[in-house]
Every structure is written in structure tokens, then in C-alpha cells.
Amino acid sequence: MKLAIDETRCKGCNLCTKVCPYKIFREGKRPNRRGIVVPELDRPERCTNCRLRNLYGRQLCGVCQLTCPDQAIHWTEEEPYEPHKVAIEY
């Protein structure tokens, strides 16, 4: 799973930066086109739900999604990992 912030919904209240136990959300630096400073993600692969959602088959933690007053935080399904053959040419 992959964590994502919907920039069309976020209003920049920065509540997610307070609740995440891993401190994945950080206050943003520059305003976007609508003039809203959207938080940025700091190494989102650490998120519990990203790592273990498919293994456990249920929602884990999810406090940021419940807390977000603008319903801007969601998880998207990632493409399954495919090993690529790498040809090493000498």
C-alpha cells in the first residue's frame, strides 16, 4: 500500500503532523497553486498500514486518516513487485 495526500482536498491544518506515531507527515515548505501549504511525506514506507495491510488483511493504525478533517489522506494499492532480469554487460 502507498500513502498519499490528496492536494485538492487538503486545507493545510497540519493535524496529521501531530498524530502520526512515526512522524511521517512534516509541515510543508511552499504553498501549492491554491495557496495552501500541504504537508510533505517523510519516508512514507515506514507507515504500519503501508507495510502490513495486505499481510494482516485489515486496516492497521489509520489514525491520520480518521483525524484528517478534510478526508485528504488515503492509501492506494501498489503494483505487485516484479523482479526484473538485469543483464550485466561487461
Binding site: 485538492t8 497540519n14 493535524l15 501531530k18 483525524t67 484528517c68 478533517p69 478526508q71 485528504a72 488515503h74
Partner: protein, 262 residues
């Protein structure tokens, strides 16, 4: 299926101010409703007037947006006309405690099978920050510019005294606990009342030294006192500070309920 499917995606983003806690309460309530396994056809959301009462407009079920304070009266009618429906009422403190106070105590007395989620932001947010019956003592608002001199309503004690079957209070900081409390309220036959204290950065926080949203949430977190801890403190004869409020499940009993299908 997750609770995101219950939102009307075409209406989002909603018009609440940045940092308003009402969106959080909608999330928690919908997560609880979703975990009950109800369909959208058999669930009805009812609301009155105010910031909080805009909530059913963003939800993909049948809903009633009614007159000021009369949400519980309309919800009673819906439940009596068709007891198969699951009725959830969103309401605010101005809607429930001020103009709809009489409807509230009589709905508690009749013990109708409703679930009421009260988003208590302690002020009239939509109309410009006038003081409401739940504005804490000493807080500033546009009608109490020298500090509110009145004792605020304790809605949970009112509901308990009037006869509600399930009463709980949480804040917008305690999202998981609130979700569980709403779920217990939905399962309980009879009147269940869940009060959720929310931050209001625009009308309340601006005048009361909570300039940042996080400051107000931190205040709610620090000043909430768990019910078990309150009981322990009372047993030991310790002094409970004036500005603390009790959170947790406050009442759970089994009075005969109205509108429950046998």
C-alpha cells in the same frame, strides 16, 4: 469496503474551515456505521442547523436537514414511521442544547432508538462566534466580550438524568475511542448520546488564545480526565481541577426503549 465509500465524492472537499474538528467526527461516525455492516438504504442521517449539521450533506445516504433544534423531533418521526431504519442524528451544541433542549430531554425520556452524535464546539461557529450554553466560564465570544459569566451545560449529565440508555463523551483527539463509543451507541437499543468536543479555530480559538489548531487539540488532550481515573481520584479524596472534563463511557443501562423492533 471502507468508510470512504459513504462519502459523496462529488461534494467534497467540504466547506468547513481549515482545522475544524467536525470532519474528524464524521470520519469516526462513518467508520463505526460501516463496521456495523448496514446498507446505505436502511440508514438515515438527520441534522438540524449549524456547522455540524452540514454533515449529512456529504454522506451518500438518505438524509434530513431540518429546522433549527428540531433534528431529534424529525428523527423521532422517522424512527416511529419505519422502525426498520437505523437513524443517526448529527447535531451541534447550539442546535441540541440551546434551541432544541426540550426536544433533547424528551427524546432521552422516551428512550427512542436513536444514536445522537453531538459535535460540541462550545460556541455558535456559523453565525459569528456568539456564546452558546456550553461556552466554558471565562471564555471570550462575541456576545461575552469580558468572559462568559455563566456556568455551562454538562450535556452528558443532562442526558443521564433525563434517561438515556448510553452516554459517552470523547474529544476530536480521541478518534479510535470515539469510533468505538459510536459503535457501542449504534448497537445499544434505546437512546444513545455521544458528545464529541471539537476544536473551532475560527470562532472559538481565535478569541481564546488557541491561535493554532494544534494548540486547541493539545488543550482537549491535556484537560480530558478518564472516567476511571476520576473515580479513583474521588475515592482517594483528591481534588479534581475545575477546568478538567470527564471523558469515557459515562452511562450504560437497559431502560425499556421505544421504537425497537421486537
Amino acid at each position: 469496503m471502507s468508510y470512504e465509500d459513504w462519502f459523496r465524492q462529488d461534494r467534497l472537499p467540504h466547506i468547513y474551515c481549515a482545522g475544524c474538528g467536525n470532519g474528524t467526527i464524521i470520519n469516526c461516525t462513518l467508520a463505526a456505521v460501516d463496521s456495523m455492516g448496514w446498507t446505505k438504504e436502511e440508514t438515515v442521517f438527520v441534522s438540524g442547523i449549524g456547522c455540524s449539521s452540514r454533515a449529512p450533506g456529504y454522506i451518500l445516504t438518505d438524509s434530513l436537514h431540518t429546522t433549527h433544534g428540531r433534528a431529534l423531533a424529525f428523527a423521532t418521526g422517522v424512527k416511529m414511521a419505519n422502525p426498520d431504519l437505523h437513524v443517526v442524528v448529527f447535531t451541534g451544541d447550539g442546535d441540541l442544547a440551546a434551541i432544541g433542549g426540550n426536544h433533547f430531554i424528551h427524546a432521552c425520556r422516551r428512550n427512542i432508538d436513536l444514536t445522537v452524535v453531538c459535535m460540541n464546539n462550545q460556541i455558535y461557529g456559523m453565525t459569528g462566534g456568539q456564546g452558546s450554553p456550553t461556552t466554558p466560564k471565562g471564555c471570550l465570544s462575541s456576545t461575552t466580550p469580558y468572559g462568559c459569566a455563566e456556568i455551562p451545560f454538562d450535556l452528558c449529565q443532562l442526558a443521564t438524568a433525563a434517561g438515556a440508555n448510553y452516554v459517552a463523551r470523547w474529544t476530536s483527539y480521541h478518534v479510535k475511542e470515539l469510533e468505538k463509543a459510536v459503535k457501542v451507541g449504534l448497537e445499544t437499543p434505546g437512546f444513545s448520546f455521544i458528545e464529541a468536543l471539537v476544536q473551532c479555530p475560527t470562532a472559538f480559538g481565535r478569541r481564546n488564545k488557541f491561535r493554532l489548531v494544534a494548540d486547541h487539540v493539545e488543550y482537549l488532550k491535556v484537560h480530558s480526565l478518564l472516567r476511571a481515573k476520576r473515580d479513583r481520584m474521588l475515592e482517594n479524596g483528591e481534588h479534581i481541577p475545575e477546568d478538567m472534563f470527564v471523558v469515557g463511557e459515562l452511562t450504560r443501562r437497559n431502560r425499556p426503549a421505544m421504537g425497537v423492533k421486537p
